[in-house]
Symmetry: C2
Subunit: 213 residues, 2 copies
DNA sequence: GTCATTGGCTAGCTGTACTATCCAATAATG
DNA sequence: CATTATTGGATAGTACAGCTAGCCAATGAC
């Protein structure tokens, strides 16, 4: 398969494929001569992964590179790979260590996690993300205690345990499992968010008494 | 309150405040002379709203402008304002009307919404977003039927009905209610996403047998 | 009277995700 | 075998977002 065919098969323009090659998101094709390289279905797959992370997961190219490096590292365990994807999804909230308010929010986040009995790396950036969300809710005068957030945590754990982790093809090849895990994490997150907004619209229509169209 | 005090009170640098004024996100202060304008707590509040939508909600400046215009429009009903926020959160997925695969995914999305009995505007961009997510899952060989997504829908509706819509201060001033609604929608969405990723990490640690640290 | 601050303006900067163009080497085609 | 198209590789340019910086005359505080 040549680059033009790869482009046709994936729907990604040639210059963009070249860009991904340069950026190390896509492994180079097998060189058959100085001006020809051969690509295969693995490259089509990889492009699908990239586009899924990019368009649905809204990851940056830099984050995708990290995720892909983890996926490709055969020595990395599943948990580590998934962790890389999680951390790539956490959008680099810089902690304001010196801020009193911030430290309170961060403590609240840590407490919630501890109360739930969840096993989370103490250095996980997700903790900072949670702290920022709590801080924002606080500042806007909305309830952001562990009590208020518990229903969200319950929903989250149910969905993850019963639905997502359960559908991973553990028996298949490592690559398939890792990809399912990473993409599933990212895409299911968006699905849930979309459905929540749809539910919101629907409930709001009834609640605020918009007439049936 | 002058601009430097507004900056100090909100933590937003003066040049950025000037930028928001230019962009129409922040209403101009009351002119007291050619070189002086007076700002008040409303401006601090507004800056908090902007930063929440920007940093937590990850909305673009253009989207925030639309949301704010809706919030400020006294003639607009709650449902309309909330709709504006929802649509601002839907990240402009352009529909590929001519693509057979796409039309199938969109039909699946519409069917799921109809089956759930949800009242969603037929022109809601959220429908397209859902279609794209379904399409992505499909392409990666993951289940994306109504059946598979039902648990997510159930979780979404429970959270929205029981938790979010319930906590809106309907009795207070319109502005407070609208703001709570809009920000709540945005921030709660992120909270749920964050908690889901945390749950994922925790479950994954157990599932893949990472030793207790 | 001096000096810092303000609003308003225009211009510049940084980062991200591409696009476009050029080139010589090669492959396909008649 | 001659012509035409395509390829990989490289470099440069584009478009947009979200600020950031500098300048200016007017003004206000001390």
């Amino acid at each position: 398969m040549r680059i033009s065919q790869l482009s046709a098969a994936s729907g990604v323009p040639i210059p963009t494929i070249k860009y991904y090659l340069r950026e190390g998101l896509l492994p180079p094709g097998e060189q058959t001569s100085a001006t020809r390289a051969e690509y295969d279905v693995g490259h089509v797959r990889r492009l699908r992964l990239i586009r899924a992370l990019l368009e649905v997961g809204r990851l940056s190219i830099a984050s995708i590179r990290k995720v892909i490096a983890a996926v490709d590292d055969e020595d990395l365990g599943m948990h580590k790979v998934l962790g890389t994807a999680h951390y790539a999804l956490a959008p680099a909230v810089e902690a304001h260590e010196d801020d009193e308010e911030w430290r309170r929010a961060r403590a609240e986040a840590d407490r919630l996690i501890a109360d739930l009995g969840w096993r989370i790396d103490p250095g996980a950036p997700t903790r900072d993300e949670l702290a920022q969300a709590i801080l924002t809710l606080d500042r806007l005068g909305m309830p952001a205690t562990g009590e208020a957030l518990r229903p969200y945590a319950a929903a989250a754990i149910d969905l993850v345990v019963e639905h997502e982790i359960g559908t991973i093809p553990i028996d298949g090849p490592r690559e398939a499992a890792v990809e399912a895990l990473v993409v599933g994490t990212v895409v299911h997150g968006r699905v849930l968010d979309i459905l929540r907004r749809l539910a919101h619209e629907s409930v709001s229509a009834r609640f605020f008494g918009v007439p049936e169209s």
